[in-house]
């Protein structure tokens, strides 16, 4: 304290015996709604101010905090620099706990996860599962957490990859799909089992924090509530309503629509003849055109079927099927589909990992298969795990196309979909599902229920 001016705004903190000196500006950057921000707020320092005014010495402004100094050093560094650097001796779990104490967990998360970039992914963790049987699906939460559906349970992880209380569908009905309405709400679609009376299967909303049941979504046909099996789930662009493929017991097949705010059924698109909707294993909402893509794929059905539905006038505006494909090509089935982000084409993949494209602007065209995007390595890997068949999956994110083939995820970039990265992670065997969200990519392996977490590290400064 050479001059009074330099002394102003300086704060002395004694954390667990170690003294830190910093400025009020640094601490205030944490925000008023954090522990440090509140501690320095005028309302808690009326007496200090009086003393400071009177004596002019800021020596009185020392605060004691009864917490671990090592973690505080990391967090103070975060406040000072905006970057998160965790030294070897500090376990992440402890750091997170301390961050939660100070109310800085959101800042740690923001510093921890860089903006998602498919070509700069780094394997951050491999989380072993303990559920019996195969995982059905992995879904990324908007805040960086995820959930894994298998059998009658959905295991939920927060972004720190700590497991929360699992979600059980009422009656432990087998789960087909799950989707995050927001970071705290999880929708689950479950299968109706034969022989059960009524109330089984369907769609329900759960608290992702506590696993508690929030709401069950009903389907009524001719004003009669009916039980049903829900297949795939998806949201519209505003997150106002969501869709599920539904199979009722009395051949009531189609796509159900619910209002996500009120929980009431908003619409039902009955399956027209020649269309497969109720069995669909993939739904995707197209922002630009206000239509819904419904894909029912091999091997769930004998042939693959993709259509675009317009709910405003209840029409099928586009559809494609490989029913009439010549016999020589018959063994090539499209097994997964995704609408490209420009909304002009659908990308499909077959069981031999060939990528193909369907033009949405014309109804007549067939699949343009691209042989060169096929990966040389994937065939080899597939041979190794041939006993465990995992069909490839597709996803798009940030202008890139992702495809899981065997035990790797391939990243294709640019308008011509050039292979730019391959992600090969833990020892869980073939990847049966993957999901991107909350700046992370989660890949679920078929064996052991291990899932890999891929993150983008913060970019290099220089």
């Amino acid at each position: 304290m050479c001059t009074p001016a330099a002394g102003r705004g300086r704060v002395r903190l004694n954390v667990g015996g170690r003294v830190f000196e910093t400025t009020t500006a640094t601490l205030a950057s944490a925000g008023r709604d954090t522990m440090l921000g509140a501690m320095l707020d005028a309302s808690w320092n009326a007496s200090h101010d009086d003393a400071a005014c009177g004596g002019g010495g800021s020596a009185a402004a020392e605060y004691f905090i009864d917490r671990d100094p090592a973690c505080f050093a990391v967090l103070l560094d975060l406040l000072r620099t905006g970057g998160l650097h965790v030294p070897r001796g500090v376990p992440e779990a402890t750091l997170y706990r301390e961050a939660l104490y100070y109310g800085l967990l959101d800042r740690v998360r923001a510093a921890r996860l860089g903006d998602f970039d498919g070509d700069r992914l780094r394997l951050a963790a491999s989380v072993p599962g303990c559920a019996p049987g195969d995982g059905t699906a992995v879904r990324a939460a908007p805040d960086g957490g995820c959930c894994v559906a298998h059998g009658g349970a959905v295991r939920v992880y927060n972004w720190m990859l700590e497991e929360r209380r699992p979600v059980y569908y009422p009656g432990h009905a087998p789960v087909n799909d799950a989707a995050y309405l927001d970071a705290a709400t999880l929708l689950v679609a479950a299968r109706e089992r034969p022989g059960r009376l009524g109330d089984d299967g369907g769609v329900a909303a759960f608290s992702a924090l506590t696993g508690g049941l929030r709401h069950r979504f009903r389907v009524a046909h001719d004003r009669q509530p009916r039980s049903f099996t829900a297949g795939a789930l998806t949201f519209d662009d505003g997150g106002c309503s969501f869709f599920a493929s539904c199979k009722g017991r009395f051949n009531e097949y189609g796509i159900g629509v619910w209002d996500a705010n009120t929980g009431e059924q908003a619409d039902f698109f009955y399956e027209p003849p020649g269309c497969a909707l109720g069995d669909a294993d993939r739904l995707q909402w197209l922002d630009g055109t206000g239509t819904l893509m419904v894909a029912t794929m091999f091997p769930r059905t004998d042939s693959s079927f993709i259509s675009l539905l317009d709910f405003r006038d209840k029409s099928v505006v586009w559809s494609w099927s490989d029913v009439g494909t010549p016999a020589s090509l018959e063994d090539k089935h499209a097994v997964h589909a995704v609408v490209m982000e420009d909304g002009r084409s659908v990308c499909v993949i077959n069981q031999y990992d060939d990528l193909g494209f369907l033009d949405l602007r014309s109804s007549a065209g067939g699949v343009r298969w691209r042989s060169r995007s096929k990966l040389a390595t994937s065939g080899k890997t597939k041979a190794l795990v041939s006993e465990e068949v995992c069909y490839p999956k597709l996803a798009t994110y940030g202008g890139q196309l992702f495809a899981s083939t065997g035990d790797t995820v391939s990243v294709f970039s640019g308008p011509d979909h050039v292979l730019t990265s391959t992600l090969r992670g833990g020892q869980g065997g073939a990847i049966c599902d993957f999901s991107i969200g909350g700046d992370r990519l989660f890949a679920l392996h078929s064996e052991e229920n291990v899932f890999d977490v891929w993150e983008t590290p913060p970019p290099a400064i220089i």
Partner: protein
Amino acid sequence: MSGGGPPRKRNFKIEAFKNRVELDPKYAERTWKVLEHAIHEIYNHNASGLSFEELYRSAYNMVLHKYGEKLYDCLQNTMTWRLKEISKSIEAAQGGLFLEELNAKWMDHNKALQMIRDILMYMDRTYVPTSHRTPVHELGLNLWRDHIIHSPMIHSRLVNTLLDLIKGERMGEVINRGLMRSITKMLMDLGPAVYQDDFEKPFLDVSASFYSVESQEFIECCDCGNYLKKAERRLNEEMERVSHYLDAGSEAKITSVVEKEMIANHMHRLVHMENSGLLNMLVDDRYEDLGRMYSLFRRVPDGLSTIRDVMTSYLRETGKQLVTDPESLKDPVEFVQRLLNEKDKHDKIISVAFGNDKTFQNALNSSFEYFINLNNRSPEFISLYVDDKLRKGHKGATEEDVEVILDKVMMLFRYLQEKDVFEKYYKQHLAKRLLSGKTVSDDAERSMIVKLKTECGYQFTSKLEGMFTDMKTSQDTMQDFYAKKSEELGDGPTLDVHILTTGSWPTQPSPPCNLPTEILTVCEKFRAYYLGTHNGRRLTWQTNMGTADIKATFGKGQKHELNVSTYQMCVLMLFNNADGLTYKDIERDTEIPASDLKRCLQSLACVKGKNVLRKEPMSKDISEDDTFYFNDKFTSKLVKVKIGTVVAQKESEPEKQETRQRVEEDRKPQIEAAIVRIMKSRRVLDHNSIVAEVTKQLQARFLPNPVVIKKRIESLIEREFLERDKVDRKLYRYLA
């Protein structure tokens, strides 16, 4: 332990760590006591002795040790207890201090709530979301709402105090707006529903009854203008009130209350108020009142249409009177001037008071269109008006003024349905202006033609433009003629010929009269010259349209220059050789048509001051037995004497009939052409559609009569342009 040796007592045994989970059962109770004490101290403004870190850590530990629920419930109880205490002290506040006390306590509560939330921040982050409880801050507001605002002792007192203050302000008292602002802001902070249910709704109800009573008072004692002023002031006051101390969302609601009570409910009475209603405002051009009425009425449904309806019916009524008033028919120029004045008046009202509202402009236009066409002489009069403006040389008027007048006339022209009639008259009037050299400005004439052209298209003005071309070529031809033939002509009379293209001009074919020999020679020379330069043309002399300047010497030797028509010149020239001539002689020698001759003689012999001839017997009218003598005794102060022909400027009744008939004749081929054009493209069409299409095509020029259209169709069928369909007789077919 299979080996020998006795088992040793001092074996390692791992004891269950019993104490670890068994926390001091009093722990939670003790910790809460600390926190509770702190909360009370905060409410007592005694927080300086508290350690934030310690309190935060205590609350953290309670949540960590699963006492979150207890912490939350205790907080709720303590806060409730505190608020009940506070409500007592607010209830005890007397009279005017009530609001002050409420506001002060609210400020305290807010500050305390902030500090409590600081302490319990960890609970807010972890326990509250997972157990679906209300966050601390919101909880504090809800408790304030339930225990203070909704407490039976405070609720009605609060609402009444606020409403009384607002009423006082409406009556002109000065109130503490800052305090009002804080209180309404508090209600908003407690949630829009609290503000709306507990304050806004009663406020609107009270306002409605207040303004209902007040507007009744006003309307009984004020005239329309004053009433509107008061209503406007009230409206502005309410908007100002909202901006000062109510929520912005209330503005639309309270203004709609004022609008309904003060305006909508009394709209018809205001508009039709005797001596001061809308009609009087329109008559007296009270722009300010009209503007106020417009801006107020536009706020209520059907407001503007009410004004518009009254204005339209007023316009139609006055307009109808104007065009059917026999007085105004006497002077066409005055007639059109009054129409223009009417138009100017309402244009100004619409632009000044009604914000150039398109719907009002449309109403104005349709009204004018309605009444102008009530009088079928309107086209003639408008043309005469233009004639007047372009002929008399608009003394002192500049080019711009003329331009403005012409623009206004064009507005009236647009309203005309029978534009072809206008064209007929305009052609006549223009011809007269051109031939008599009375057009003052060529530019003004041309600008009028351009306006007509832009309005009605090339076809409409092509003949008018032809007239101008003729005038120009005539001038050139005459110059050339004199330049080439001057030595040949010598000292003979000067000839100025206008060569008019047949068809472009409204000429009536009339047999040429016998020209005096002096003139005839020059004419023949010109004819020879003209036909020499232009092959294959035919020249016909239109002696009925020319003028002549002749010099005459009278009895006492005084010389006068007489400006006369060609006919008059022919008659006068006869008197060079004879002193007296009978009517029959004159008729024989000149071969002027009888009606023209009579008129010409009348103007020479019967007009006082210009009677260069003397008639025997003396009478007003010319009869065939009269004899005419050269009037030696003629005197005039002027050297130049202009002897006009007795000719009506306005058309006489038979002439009007004739013009009308000519117009009808001219319409026939136009209607036929339209029918053929339509049928050529449509091939088959029913009668009504043809009539509709023809009307649509021709309405830029005139409004064809359906009966006439039918006649034309029949005529076309006769001439085998069309035929009736053999199956459906209503259909017509085009025959190629």
